[in-house]
Symmetry: C2
Subunit: 259 residues, 2 copies
Protein backbone atom coordinates (compact mmCIF):
# COMPACT_ATOMS: atom_id res chain seq x y z
CA UNK A 1 0.00 0.00 0.00
CA UNK A 2 3.03 2.30 0.21
CA UNK A 3 4.19 4.23 -2.81
CA UNK A 4 7.70 2.84 -2.52
CA UNK A 5 7.81 -0.94 -2.88
CA UNK A 6 10.48 -1.49 -0.24
CA UNK A 7 10.31 -3.45 2.99
CA UNK A 8 11.05 -1.82 6.34
CA UNK A 9 14.69 -1.84 7.44
CA UNK A 10 15.93 -1.07 10.93
CA UNK A 11 18.21 1.19 12.93
CA UNK A 12 20.83 -0.56 15.06
CA UNK A 13 22.64 1.76 17.48
CA UNK A 14 26.04 0.20 18.10
CA UNK A 15 28.62 0.84 20.82
CA UNK A 16 32.22 0.59 19.63
CA UNK A 17 33.61 0.72 23.16
CA UNK A 18 36.06 3.45 24.14
CA UNK A 19 39.33 4.11 22.42
CA UNK A 20 40.34 1.21 20.27
CA UNK A 21 39.39 -2.10 18.74
CA UNK A 22 40.45 -4.27 21.70
CA UNK A 23 37.21 -3.23 23.46
CA UNK A 24 34.67 -3.83 20.71
CA UNK A 25 32.43 -6.86 21.31
CA UNK A 26 31.99 -9.71 18.81
CA UNK A 27 28.29 -8.80 18.63
CA UNK A 28 29.08 -5.21 17.62
CA UNK A 29 31.57 -6.36 14.97
CA UNK A 30 29.00 -8.72 13.46
CA UNK A 31 26.28 -6.07 13.41
CA UNK A 32 28.62 -3.59 11.71
CA UNK A 33 29.45 -6.16 9.01
CA UNK A 34 25.73 -6.64 8.25
CA UNK A 35 24.84 -2.95 7.91
CA UNK A 36 24.06 -1.39 4.55
CA UNK A 37 24.73 2.10 5.95
CA UNK A 38 26.95 3.43 8.75
CA UNK A 39 25.98 6.76 10.31
CA UNK A 40 27.85 8.71 12.96
CA UNK A 41 30.27 11.34 14.10
CA UNK A 42 33.18 11.13 11.67
CA UNK A 43 35.74 10.17 14.35
CA UNK A 44 33.68 7.09 15.22
CA UNK A 45 32.73 6.07 11.67
CA UNK A 46 36.44 6.08 10.80
CA UNK A 47 36.96 3.36 13.45
CA UNK A 48 34.64 1.00 11.52
CA UNK A 49 36.41 -1.29 9.01
CA UNK A 50 35.37 -0.37 5.45
CA UNK A 51 33.31 -2.93 3.55
CA UNK A 52 32.75 -2.69 -0.24
CA UNK A 53 29.20 -1.56 -0.99
CA UNK A 54 28.48 -0.32 2.55
CA UNK A 55 27.62 3.38 2.55
CA UNK A 56 29.20 5.71 5.13
CA UNK A 57 27.55 8.93 6.34
CA UNK A 58 29.94 11.08 8.38
CA UNK A 59 28.75 14.06 10.39
CA UNK A 60 30.05 16.47 12.98
CA UNK A 61 29.45 15.99 16.70
CA UNK A 62 26.70 18.55 17.25
CA UNK A 63 23.66 17.36 15.29
CA UNK A 64 22.48 14.21 17.05
CA UNK A 65 18.79 14.74 16.21
CA UNK A 66 19.52 15.40 12.53
CA UNK A 67 21.68 12.28 12.39
CA UNK A 68 18.94 10.26 14.13
CA UNK A 69 16.28 11.43 11.68
CA UNK A 70 18.52 10.59 8.71
CA UNK A 71 19.06 7.07 10.09
CA UNK A 72 15.33 6.53 10.74
CA UNK A 73 14.49 7.77 7.27
CA UNK A 74 16.96 5.40 5.60
CA UNK A 75 15.62 2.50 7.69
CA UNK A 76 12.06 3.31 6.64
CA UNK A 77 13.20 3.04 3.03
CA UNK A 78 14.60 -0.43 3.66
CA UNK A 79 18.19 0.11 4.81
CA UNK A 80 19.86 -1.67 7.68
CA UNK A 81 21.42 1.39 9.32
CA UNK A 82 24.19 1.18 11.92
CA UNK A 83 24.42 4.32 14.05
CA UNK A 84 27.78 4.19 15.79
CA UNK A 85 28.82 5.61 19.16
CA UNK A 86 32.00 5.42 21.15
CA UNK A 87 31.71 3.59 24.48
CA UNK A 88 28.19 2.37 25.22
CA UNK A 89 25.52 4.06 23.07
CA UNK A 90 23.21 3.97 26.11
CA UNK A 91 25.45 6.22 28.23
CA UNK A 92 25.49 9.91 27.21
CA UNK A 93 25.43 8.88 23.57
CA UNK A 94 23.34 8.14 20.49
CA UNK A 95 20.81 5.57 21.79
CA UNK A 96 18.72 8.12 23.68
CA UNK A 97 19.05 10.59 20.80
CA UNK A 98 17.70 8.06 18.28
CA UNK A 99 14.85 6.96 20.55
CA UNK A 100 13.88 10.55 21.40
CA UNK A 101 13.60 11.21 17.67
CA UNK A 102 11.82 7.91 16.98
CA UNK A 103 9.15 8.61 19.62
CA UNK A 104 7.11 10.62 17.13
CA UNK A 105 4.18 9.75 14.84
CA UNK A 106 6.33 9.76 11.71
CA UNK A 107 8.96 7.30 13.06
CA UNK A 108 7.42 5.16 15.81
CA UNK A 109 6.98 2.13 13.51
CA UNK A 110 10.67 1.99 12.58
CA UNK A 111 12.46 -0.79 14.52
CA UNK A 112 15.32 0.47 16.71
CA UNK A 113 17.71 -1.95 18.40
CA UNK A 114 20.59 -1.12 20.73
CA UNK A 115 23.85 -3.09 20.73
CA UNK A 116 25.60 -2.24 24.00
CA UNK A 117 29.29 -1.56 24.46
CA UNK A 118 31.79 -1.02 27.21
CA UNK A 119 31.48 2.44 28.76
CA UNK A 120 34.36 4.90 28.89
CA UNK A 121 33.99 5.10 32.69
CA UNK A 122 34.60 1.36 33.07
CA UNK A 123 37.74 1.63 30.92
CA UNK A 124 39.03 4.60 32.92
CA UNK A 125 38.32 2.86 36.22
CA UNK A 126 40.18 -0.27 35.11
CA UNK A 127 43.38 1.68 34.46
CA UNK A 128 43.82 2.38 38.17
CA UNK A 129 41.89 -0.47 39.78
CA UNK A 130 38.27 -0.36 40.90
CA UNK A 131 37.32 3.17 41.99
CA UNK A 132 33.69 2.42 40.99
CA UNK A 133 33.77 -0.90 42.86
CA UNK A 134 30.72 -0.15 44.95
CA UNK A 135 27.60 2.07 44.62
CA UNK A 136 28.36 4.90 42.20
CA UNK A 137 26.93 7.50 39.84
CA UNK A 138 27.63 8.86 36.39
CA UNK A 139 26.89 12.50 35.65
CA UNK A 140 27.45 14.80 32.72
CA UNK A 141 28.81 18.18 33.79
CA UNK A 142 27.58 19.84 30.61
CA UNK A 143 24.86 22.43 30.98
CA UNK A 144 24.18 22.43 27.24
CA UNK A 145 21.10 20.17 27.63
CA UNK A 146 20.13 20.76 31.28
CA UNK A 147 20.28 23.71 33.67
CA UNK A 148 23.38 24.01 35.84
CA UNK A 149 21.25 23.82 38.99
CA UNK A 150 20.26 20.25 38.03
CA UNK A 151 23.96 19.39 37.74
CA UNK A 152 24.57 20.88 41.19
CA UNK A 153 21.65 19.00 42.71
CA UNK A 154 22.91 15.67 41.38
CA UNK A 155 26.54 16.20 42.39
CA UNK A 156 25.36 17.20 45.88
CA UNK A 157 23.15 14.09 46.05
CA UNK A 158 26.01 11.75 45.09
CA UNK A 159 28.67 13.34 47.29
CA UNK A 160 26.16 13.71 50.14
CA UNK A 161 25.35 10.01 49.95
CA UNK A 162 29.11 9.25 49.96
CA UNK A 163 29.04 7.64 46.52
CA UNK A 164 31.94 7.65 44.05
CA UNK A 165 31.02 8.98 40.62
CA UNK A 166 32.30 9.37 37.08
CA UNK A 167 32.08 12.77 35.39
CA UNK A 168 31.39 12.88 31.65
CA UNK A 169 31.86 16.09 29.63
CA UNK A 170 33.66 17.91 32.46
CA UNK A 171 34.89 20.76 30.29
CA UNK A 172 35.38 22.07 26.78
CA UNK A 173 37.20 25.02 25.25
CA UNK A 174 34.35 27.32 26.28
CA UNK A 175 33.13 25.57 29.48
CA UNK A 176 36.02 26.24 31.85
CA UNK A 177 34.65 26.99 35.37
CA UNK A 178 32.52 23.86 35.94
CA UNK A 179 35.31 21.57 37.20
CA UNK A 180 36.33 24.08 39.87
CA UNK A 181 32.69 24.41 40.91
CA UNK A 182 32.36 20.61 41.05
CA UNK A 183 35.42 20.37 43.29
CA UNK A 184 34.03 23.00 45.67
CA UNK A 185 30.66 21.22 45.93
CA UNK A 186 32.24 17.85 46.68
CA UNK A 187 34.53 19.47 49.30
CA UNK A 188 31.37 20.40 51.27
CA UNK A 189 30.92 16.65 51.89
CA UNK A 190 34.25 14.89 51.39
CA UNK A 191 37.78 15.34 52.76
CA UNK A 192 40.45 17.19 50.74
CA UNK A 193 42.44 13.95 50.32
CA UNK A 194 39.54 12.16 48.59
CA UNK A 195 41.01 10.43 45.50
CA UNK A 196 40.26 11.86 42.07
CA UNK A 197 41.25 10.19 38.80
CA UNK A 198 41.98 12.45 35.84
CA UNK A 199 41.94 10.37 32.66
CA UNK A 200 42.49 11.65 29.15
CA UNK A 201 41.87 9.78 25.89
CA UNK A 202 41.87 6.32 27.50
CA UNK A 203 42.49 3.59 24.94
CA UNK A 204 44.14 5.95 22.45
CA UNK A 205 47.82 6.64 21.78
CA UNK A 206 47.49 9.89 23.75
CA UNK A 207 46.22 8.19 26.91
CA UNK A 208 47.18 9.69 30.26
CA UNK A 209 45.79 8.76 33.66
CA UNK A 210 46.66 10.54 36.91
CA UNK A 211 45.56 9.84 40.47
CA UNK A 212 45.26 13.05 42.47
CA UNK A 213 43.06 14.40 45.28
CA UNK A 214 40.17 16.82 45.49
CA UNK A 215 42.46 19.44 47.05
CA UNK A 216 45.06 19.10 44.30
CA UNK A 217 42.69 18.74 41.32
CA UNK A 218 43.72 21.33 38.73
CA UNK A 219 40.75 22.33 36.54
CA UNK A 220 43.11 23.76 33.93
CA UNK A 221 44.29 20.28 32.84
CA UNK A 222 40.74 19.10 32.09
CA UNK A 223 39.59 19.26 28.48
CA UNK A 224 36.97 17.69 26.17
CA UNK A 225 38.81 14.36 26.02
CA UNK A 226 39.08 14.09 29.81
CA UNK A 227 36.94 12.07 32.20
CA UNK A 228 37.06 12.39 35.98
CA UNK A 229 36.27 9.83 38.65
CA UNK A 230 35.68 11.29 42.11
CA UNK A 231 36.05 8.89 45.06
CA UNK A 232 34.08 8.44 48.27
CA UNK A 233 35.19 8.10 51.91
CA UNK A 234 35.63 4.36 51.24
CA UNK A 235 37.93 4.92 48.24
CA UNK A 236 41.48 3.80 49.08
CA UNK A 237 44.81 4.29 47.33
CA UNK A 238 48.00 2.25 47.62
CA UNK A 239 51.27 2.14 45.71
CA UNK A 240 51.58 -1.09 43.75
CA UNK A 241 54.50 -2.21 41.60
CA UNK A 242 52.84 -0.77 38.47
CA UNK A 243 51.74 2.53 39.97
CA UNK A 244 48.94 3.71 42.19
CA UNK A 245 46.01 1.39 42.68
CA UNK A 246 42.61 2.83 43.68
CA UNK A 247 39.56 0.93 44.88
CA UNK A 248 36.26 1.71 46.53
CA UNK A 249 35.70 -0.88 49.21
CA UNK A 250 32.72 -3.18 49.01
CA UNK A 251 32.26 -2.94 52.76
CA UNK A 252 30.94 0.21 54.28
CA UNK A 253 33.01 1.47 57.24
CA UNK A 254 35.17 -1.61 57.82
CA UNK A 255 36.86 -2.43 54.52
CA UNK A 256 39.51 -5.04 53.76
CA UNK A 257 38.70 -7.69 56.37
CA UNK A 258 35.82 -9.96 55.52
CA UNK A 259 37.24 -13.37 56.22
CA UNK B 1 67.69 -13.14 47.03
CA UNK B 2 64.42 -15.01 47.62
CA UNK B 3 64.38 -18.62 48.68
CA UNK B 4 62.23 -19.61 45.74
CA UNK B 5 63.98 -18.97 42.43
CA UNK B 6 60.85 -17.87 40.62
CA UNK B 7 60.06 -14.52 39.09
CA UNK B 8 56.99 -12.53 40.10
CA UNK B 9 53.81 -13.28 38.16
CA UNK B 10 50.69 -11.14 38.13
CA UNK B 11 46.98 -11.16 38.80
CA UNK B 12 44.75 -10.05 35.93
CA UNK B 13 41.11 -9.52 36.91
CA UNK B 14 39.08 -10.08 33.75
CA UNK B 15 35.50 -9.16 32.90
CA UNK B 16 33.69 -11.72 30.75
CA UNK B 17 30.74 -9.41 30.12
CA UNK B 18 27.24 -10.52 31.10
CA UNK B 19 25.56 -13.64 29.88
CA UNK B 20 27.31 -15.03 26.89
CA UNK B 21 30.32 -14.93 24.61
CA UNK B 22 28.94 -12.31 22.21
CA UNK B 23 29.81 -9.65 24.83
CA UNK B 24 33.38 -10.62 25.71
CA UNK B 25 36.00 -8.21 24.38
CA UNK B 26 38.96 -9.27 22.21
CA UNK B 27 41.26 -8.01 24.98
CA UNK B 28 39.63 -10.28 27.57
CA UNK B 29 39.83 -13.29 25.25
CA UNK B 30 43.54 -12.69 24.65
CA UNK B 31 44.28 -12.30 28.34
CA UNK B 32 42.44 -15.52 29.16
CA UNK B 33 44.46 -17.40 26.54
CA UNK B 34 47.73 -16.20 28.13
CA UNK B 35 46.88 -17.16 31.73
CA UNK B 36 48.54 -20.11 33.48
CA UNK B 37 45.73 -20.27 36.04
CA UNK B 38 42.04 -19.30 35.96
CA UNK B 39 40.35 -18.52 39.30
CA UNK B 40 36.72 -17.74 39.94
CA UNK B 41 33.20 -18.65 40.86
CA UNK B 42 32.53 -21.95 39.09
CA UNK B 43 29.70 -20.57 36.91
CA UNK B 44 32.08 -18.00 35.43
CA UNK B 45 35.15 -20.25 35.08
CA UNK B 46 33.00 -22.66 33.07
CA UNK B 47 32.42 -19.87 30.52
CA UNK B 48 36.19 -19.76 29.77
CA UNK B 49 37.33 -22.00 26.87
CA UNK B 50 39.57 -24.77 28.22
CA UNK B 51 43.23 -24.69 27.17
CA UNK B 52 45.56 -27.69 27.66
CA UNK B 53 47.97 -27.05 30.53
CA UNK B 54 45.99 -24.13 31.97
CA UNK B 55 44.91 -24.81 35.55
CA UNK B 56 41.35 -24.03 36.66
CA UNK B 57 40.41 -23.22 40.26
CA UNK B 58 36.64 -23.21 40.78
CA UNK B 59 35.05 -21.86 43.95
CA UNK B 60 31.63 -21.00 45.30
CA UNK B 61 30.28 -17.46 45.21
CA UNK B 62 30.76 -16.48 48.87
CA UNK B 63 34.50 -16.40 49.51
CA UNK B 64 35.82 -13.46 47.49
CA UNK B 65 38.64 -12.66 49.93
CA UNK B 66 39.84 -16.26 50.07
CA UNK B 67 39.78 -16.45 46.27
CA UNK B 68 41.69 -13.14 46.05
CA UNK B 69 44.39 -14.34 48.48
CA UNK B 70 44.79 -17.59 46.55
CA UNK B 71 45.24 -15.65 43.30
CA UNK B 72 47.78 -13.26 44.84
CA UNK B 73 49.72 -16.16 46.35
CA UNK B 74 49.93 -17.98 43.01
CA UNK B 75 51.06 -14.76 41.28
CA UNK B 76 53.79 -14.25 43.88
CA UNK B 77 55.06 -17.74 43.03
CA UNK B 78 55.29 -16.84 39.35
CA UNK B 79 51.87 -17.66 37.90
CA UNK B 80 49.93 -15.48 35.50
CA UNK B 81 46.57 -15.70 37.23
CA UNK B 82 43.28 -14.73 35.57
CA UNK B 83 40.55 -13.96 38.10
CA UNK B 84 37.27 -13.98 36.17
CA UNK B 85 34.06 -12.05 36.83
CA UNK B 86 30.83 -11.76 34.94
CA UNK B 87 30.06 -8.29 33.58
CA UNK B 88 32.70 -5.70 34.44
CA UNK B 89 34.98 -6.81 37.30
CA UNK B 90 35.04 -3.18 38.49
CA UNK B 91 31.27 -3.07 39.18
CA UNK B 92 30.11 -5.01 42.25
CA UNK B 93 32.60 -7.76 41.42
CA UNK B 94 36.09 -9.18 41.92
CA UNK B 95 38.34 -6.19 41.11
CA UNK B 96 37.65 -4.39 44.40
CA UNK B 97 37.85 -7.70 46.30
CA UNK B 98 41.32 -8.44 44.88
CA UNK B 99 42.62 -4.91 45.50
CA UNK B 100 41.22 -4.81 49.04
CA UNK B 101 43.13 -8.01 49.76
CA UNK B 102 46.25 -6.83 47.91
CA UNK B 103 46.40 -3.60 49.95
CA UNK B 104 48.31 -5.35 52.76
CA UNK B 105 52.01 -5.69 53.58
CA UNK B 106 52.19 -9.29 52.40
CA UNK B 107 50.70 -8.64 48.94
CA UNK B 108 51.26 -5.00 48.00
CA UNK B 109 54.20 -5.85 45.69
CA UNK B 110 52.14 -8.26 43.55
CA UNK B 111 51.08 -6.61 40.26
CA UNK B 112 47.29 -6.46 39.78
CA UNK B 113 45.79 -5.41 36.45
CA UNK B 114 42.12 -5.00 35.61
CA UNK B 115 40.69 -5.91 32.18
CA UNK B 116 37.30 -4.20 31.96
CA UNK B 117 34.12 -5.68 30.54
CA UNK B 118 30.63 -4.68 29.64
CA UNK B 119 28.45 -4.24 32.73
CA UNK B 120 25.21 -6.15 33.23
CA UNK B 121 23.33 -2.85 33.61
CA UNK B 122 24.37 -1.73 30.13
CA UNK B 123 23.20 -5.03 28.66
CA UNK B 124 19.86 -4.80 30.46
CA UNK B 125 19.38 -1.19 29.40
CA UNK B 126 20.08 -2.05 25.76
CA UNK B 127 17.27 -4.61 25.67
CA UNK B 128 14.63 -1.90 26.03
CA UNK B 129 16.42 1.16 24.68
CA UNK B 130 18.34 3.72 26.72
CA UNK B 131 16.81 4.02 30.22
CA UNK B 132 20.27 5.05 31.54
CA UNK B 133 20.70 7.55 28.71
CA UNK B 134 21.38 10.48 31.01
CA UNK B 135 22.79 10.97 34.55
CA UNK B 136 22.28 7.75 36.52
CA UNK B 137 23.38 5.67 39.47
CA UNK B 138 24.13 2.04 40.22
CA UNK B 139 23.40 0.67 43.69
CA UNK B 140 23.53 -2.71 45.31
CA UNK B 141 20.46 -3.43 47.42
CA UNK B 142 22.31 -6.02 49.48
CA UNK B 143 22.86 -5.24 53.14
CA UNK B 144 25.37 -8.08 53.47
CA UNK B 145 28.35 -5.70 53.25
CA UNK B 146 26.80 -2.37 54.28
CA UNK B 147 24.05 -1.29 56.69
CA UNK B 148 20.55 -0.95 55.25
CA UNK B 149 20.43 2.71 56.26
CA UNK B 150 23.28 3.39 53.79
CA UNK B 151 21.21 1.73 51.06
CA UNK B 152 18.23 3.92 52.00
CA UNK B 153 20.35 7.08 52.01
CA UNK B 154 21.67 6.35 48.52
CA UNK B 155 18.32 5.42 47.00
CA UNK B 156 16.82 8.59 48.50
CA UNK B 157 19.71 10.64 47.07
CA UNK B 158 19.26 9.24 43.55
CA UNK B 159 15.46 9.41 43.46
CA UNK B 160 15.51 12.83 45.15
CA UNK B 161 17.88 14.14 42.46
CA UNK B 162 15.57 12.66 39.79
CA UNK B 163 18.20 10.27 38.45
CA UNK B 164 17.48 6.88 36.90
CA UNK B 165 19.38 4.02 38.51
CA UNK B 166 20.21 0.35 38.13
CA UNK B 167 19.73 -1.97 41.11
CA UNK B 168 22.19 -4.84 41.57
CA UNK B 169 21.49 -7.69 44.02
CA UNK B 170 17.86 -6.66 44.56
CA UNK B 171 16.86 -9.90 46.31
CA UNK B 172 17.82 -13.45 47.13
CA UNK B 173 16.01 -16.43 48.63
CA UNK B 174 16.45 -14.94 52.10
CA UNK B 175 16.37 -11.19 51.29
CA UNK B 176 12.74 -10.69 50.30
CA UNK B 177 11.47 -7.33 51.67
CA UNK B 178 14.08 -4.98 50.19
CA UNK B 179 12.47 -4.50 46.75
CA UNK B 180 9.17 -3.45 48.33
CA UNK B 181 11.04 -1.02 50.57
CA UNK B 182 12.91 0.36 47.55
CA UNK B 183 9.64 0.93 45.70
CA UNK B 184 8.15 2.79 48.67
CA UNK B 185 11.20 5.05 49.00
CA UNK B 186 11.20 5.96 45.31
CA UNK B 187 7.43 6.65 45.44
CA UNK B 188 8.17 9.47 47.92
CA UNK B 189 9.87 11.28 45.03
CA UNK B 190 8.58 9.88 41.75
CA UNK B 191 5.14 9.30 40.21
CA UNK B 192 3.50 5.84 40.32
CA UNK B 193 3.79 5.52 36.52
CA UNK B 194 7.59 5.93 36.58
CA UNK B 195 9.00 3.18 34.33
CA UNK B 196 10.76 0.21 35.93
CA UNK B 197 12.58 -2.50 33.97
CA UNK B 198 12.63 -5.98 35.48
CA UNK B 199 15.31 -8.05 33.75
CA UNK B 200 16.25 -11.61 34.54
CA UNK B 201 19.30 -13.52 33.26
CA UNK B 202 20.00 -11.16 30.36
CA UNK B 203 22.18 -12.80 27.72
CA UNK B 204 21.28 -16.33 28.80
CA UNK B 205 18.72 -18.75 27.40
CA UNK B 206 16.43 -17.90 30.34
CA UNK B 207 16.38 -14.16 29.56
CA UNK B 208 13.21 -12.24 30.32
CA UNK B 209 12.79 -8.47 30.31
CA UNK B 210 9.60 -6.65 31.34
CA UNK B 211 8.78 -2.95 31.35
CA UNK B 212 6.45 -2.06 34.22
CA UNK B 213 5.88 0.88 36.55
CA UNK B 214 6.70 1.69 40.16
CA UNK B 215 3.05 1.17 41.13
CA UNK B 216 2.86 -2.22 39.42
CA UNK B 217 6.30 -3.54 40.39
CA UNK B 218 5.79 -6.95 42.01
CA UNK B 219 8.63 -7.74 44.46
CA UNK B 220 7.73 -11.44 44.38
CA UNK B 221 9.06 -11.87 40.81
CA UNK B 222 12.52 -10.54 41.74
CA UNK B 223 15.21 -13.11 42.48
CA UNK B 224 19.02 -13.37 42.56
CA UNK B 225 19.31 -13.37 38.78
CA UNK B 226 17.18 -10.22 38.41
CA UNK B 227 18.32 -6.66 37.88
CA UNK B 228 16.06 -3.62 38.08
CA UNK B 229 16.34 -0.26 36.37
CA UNK B 230 14.23 2.49 37.91
CA UNK B 231 13.47 5.50 35.71
CA UNK B 232 13.33 9.23 36.41
CA UNK B 233 10.73 11.89 35.53
CA UNK B 234 12.47 12.22 32.16
CA UNK B 235 12.22 8.50 31.36
CA UNK B 236 9.76 7.92 28.50
CA UNK B 237 8.12 4.80 27.12
CA UNK B 238 6.64 4.20 23.68
CA UNK B 239 5.41 1.15 21.81
CA UNK B 240 7.71 0.31 18.92
CA UNK B 241 7.30 -2.49 16.39
CA UNK B 242 9.52 -4.82 18.49
CA UNK B 243 8.00 -4.01 21.87
CA UNK B 244 8.24 -1.23 24.38
CA UNK B 245 11.09 1.19 24.02
CA UNK B 246 12.31 3.14 27.07
CA UNK B 247 14.69 6.11 27.10
CA UNK B 248 15.78 8.75 29.56
CA UNK B 249 15.89 12.03 27.69
CA UNK B 250 19.15 13.88 27.37
CA UNK B 251 17.35 17.17 27.85
CA UNK B 252 16.03 18.14 31.22
CA UNK B 253 12.40 19.37 31.14
CA UNK B 254 11.89 19.71 27.41
CA UNK B 255 12.77 16.33 25.91
CA UNK B 256 12.31 15.18 22.31
CA UNK B 257 12.61 18.48 20.46
CA UNK B 258 16.14 19.79 20.06
CA UNK B 259 16.28 20.75 16.44
Amino acid sequence: MTMEHTSMGEVVVIGLGPGNSEWITPEASEELARATDVVGYSTYVKRVPEIPGQRRHLSDNKVEAVRAAMALDMARRGSRVAVVSSGDPGVFAMAAAVLETADDDQWRDVPVRIVPGMTAAQAVASRVGAPLGHDFGMVSLSDRLKPWDVVVKRVRALAGADMAFAVYNPASKSRRWQVGALRDIVLEFQKPDTPVIVARAVGSADESVTVTTLAELDPDVVDMRTMLIVGASTTHVYDGPDGRRVFTARHYEAPATDD
